[in-house]
């Protein structure tokens, strides 16, 4: 187990290192950020001095070396716009994003898993068709359009809900619905097909033959064994939720990492972009790692494989 953990950790570090390297060089290809931050009437001498101070005049490889040396210590430099430590700026925004992603994931699971199980158990019924039609629709409707429509609907006076920023629980309602709609659709479809598959297994037949109540058969025997693909998808979706948050946060003016990243991209605030890339890929790989560990808990058979591998 320890060897497995160490090799996974090594892989994770390599992936993050390569991601940072790629983004560093791409960002430098994009052009000079200095001119964006200085007034129009500035002298060429001053521009040069500013560049010198930020180290943009050094050879690229020297800049890269300096960047990696800093990144290892968690130092991505100062934000060009906010004049604050870039990583700290991103970390300050992380709780808002995580809170949104976690509540959206919870909402997704609360809707999608019961709907998927119901569709599978009552296969071919009205519920099945209704559930799956809604799921197909949910998958096709773009989140940012749904967000705009919700803002409009609530604004014309059905219920009053805040559509900007954070605050109380009410602030969560719209962003959560928007973020969860797409992922709930996918998860419901997967839950349905996964449960349908396990219901065909012989141990389900055995459980029924023993005279167990249908509820117990479904909850204990079928659902538990369908959990692996559902957990995999939930893990992947948590990662994608961080990406989806970019758009949702922008619509609802949510002060999270996604909105900060978009603003940093607009402003060519490269230290912040790099810090955000770092943080997002760390979160993403950590989530995948957690999912891998969960497999072992859900299906002891996979434990040996992961340990051997």
């Amino acid at each position: 187990m320890r060897a497995y953990l160490l090799s996974r950790l090594g892989q994770t570090a390599l992936v993050i290192f390569l991601a940072l390297t790629a983004v560093f060089f791409l960002v430098r290809l994009a052009g000079d950020p200095v001119l964006l931050f200085l007034p129009m009437d500035i002298q060429a001498k001053d521009v040069n001095e500013f560049r010198q101070r930020l180290g943009f005049n050094d050879p690229l490889i020297v800049q890269y070396g300096r960047f990696i040396a800093g990144a290892v210590r968690g130092d991505f430099g100062e934000s060009l716009r906010y004049k604050q430590d870039a990583l700290r700026l991103v970390l300050e925004r992380l709780p808002a994003t995580l809170a949104l992603a976690a509540s959206a994931l919870a909402l997704t699971a609360c809707i999608a898993i019961p709907a998927g199980v119901l569709s599978a158990v009552r296969r071919g019924s009205v519920w099945d068709h209704l559930g799956m039609t809604v799921a197909v629709l949910g998958q096709a409707i773009p989140g940012f359009w749904l967000g705009l429509m919700l803002i409009y609907l609530f604004s014309v006076g059905l219920v009053s809900l805040p559509n900007e920023g954070t605050g109380g629980l009410a602030h969560f309602v719209m962003p959560c619905i928007v973020l969860a709609s797409f992922y709930a659709a996918r998860m419901a479809r997967l839950t349905r097909s996964s449960v349908l598959e396990t219901l065909r297994e012989e141990y389900v037949l055995t459980a029924r033959a023993k005279g167990l109540a249908e509820r117990v058969v479904i909850a204990k025997h079928a659902l538990k064994n369908s959990a692996i693909p559902i957990v995999t998808l939930a893990g992947l979706e948590t990662g994608q939720l961080l990406g989806g948050a970019v758009i949702t946060e922008t619509i609802f003016a949510w002060p999270g990492v996604g909105r900060l990243t978009v603003q940093a991209l607009v402003n060519r605030d490269f230290p912040v972009v790099l810090a955000a890339v770092f943080l997002i890929s760390v979160t993403y790989t950590l989530i995948n790692f957690g999912v891998d560990l969960l497999y072992g808990a859900l299906d002891p058979r996979t434990r040996r494989e992961t340990e051997a591998g």
């Binding site: 409009y152 990662g239 991209l265």
Partner: protein
């Protein structure tokens, strides 16, 4: 029986919606009643149903119906180019990586890992912010973010296909490597490429709209659905139609392509049910 009928019915709905989008895209110059980028300040922000403007007009008095029709053109063009580019590049790389293996295959899979450690929309957005805005660059950005899936799927398929007897037999008969690859392996990988392409198509269209919505990608006054939705935000409370129709067009197109893709996947590869 009902389930099967339902499946075909959904497939046909998908076919109809997709055809409608394709017709709108191809025949936009004929179907559109007005020039999509010509402004007419006298007729600004007219609601749907105004004579001459079936879906109303926007803040510059441009006809919304014409803009939505031309939007189909932009969306499908971007989706089609991106799917083609990613399928060819990703497919070829996956084919080579799977067939020859060795270090190129290993390097390719490491690159894939790096890309997959980042959410797709955010990756495409970051690349787009770096390579620049506009129609051509959004196609490049989406392709650069999206080719990985093909490379992975194709590589996996090739690894199993090259062990099959008919491939081994062809090699044993002295068939050249290139011929084995393109005559014996490629045709058997083709269905997977088509299935992935159908799944990716609507994802690319929605991602493009999202990126244009955030102010990158396709720029105004080009009538792309995403940038139309972005502009509509300032007028949401006074002109709901500016947000409603381009978004509905986008959702219906994505729905049609998804349904058609599901249908295609069932027909081509019953194993690949998601």
């Amino acid at each position: 029986m009902i389930a099967r009928l339902n499946r075909h019915l959904l497939g046909i709905v998908g076919l109809l919606l997709t055809s409608a989008a394709v017709v709108a895209a191809l025949a936009a110059p004929v179907l559109a009643p007005h020039d999509p980028i010509k402004s007419d300040f006298v007729a600004s922000l007219k609601p749907p149903g105004t004579p001459g403007h079936l879906l109303g007009t926007d803040q510059l008095g441009r006809d919304l119906l014409s803009r939505v029709l031309y939007g189909a053109r932009i969306a499908l063009f971007i989706g089609f180019c991106t799917v083609l580019l990613t399928a060819v590049v990703g497919g070829l790389l996956g084919l080579v990586a799977g067939f020859f293996g060795g270090w190129p295959g290993a390097v390719l899979m490491r690159i894939a890992d790096v890309q997959l450690s980042f959410p797709f929309v955010l990756l495409a957005l970051t690349i787009n912010a770096i390579v620049g805005l506009g129609l051509r660059n959004i196609i490049i950005s989406l392709s650069a973010a999206g080719w990985v899936i093909y490379a992975r799927v194709v590589r996996g398929e090739v690894l199993s296909i090259k062990q099959r007897d008919y491939v081994q037999a062809a090699a044993a008969l002295g068939t050249g490597k290139a011929r084995v690859l393109f005559r014996h392996v490629l045709p058997n990988v083709a269905p997977s490429i088509i299935v992935v392409a159908s799944l990716q198509f609507s994802q690319f269209i929605v991602a493009e709209a999202a990126i244009s919505f955030l102010g990158f990608g396709v720029q105004p006054p080009t009538p792309a659905w995403g940038s139309m939705l972005s502009e509509s935000r300032d007028f949401l409370y006074v002109a709901w139609w500016l947000a409603a129709f381009p978004g509905a067009a986008l959702a219906l197109t994505a729905l049609g392509i998804n349904l058609l893709g599901d249908w295609l996947r069932d027909a081509l590869d019953p194993k690949l049910r998601v």
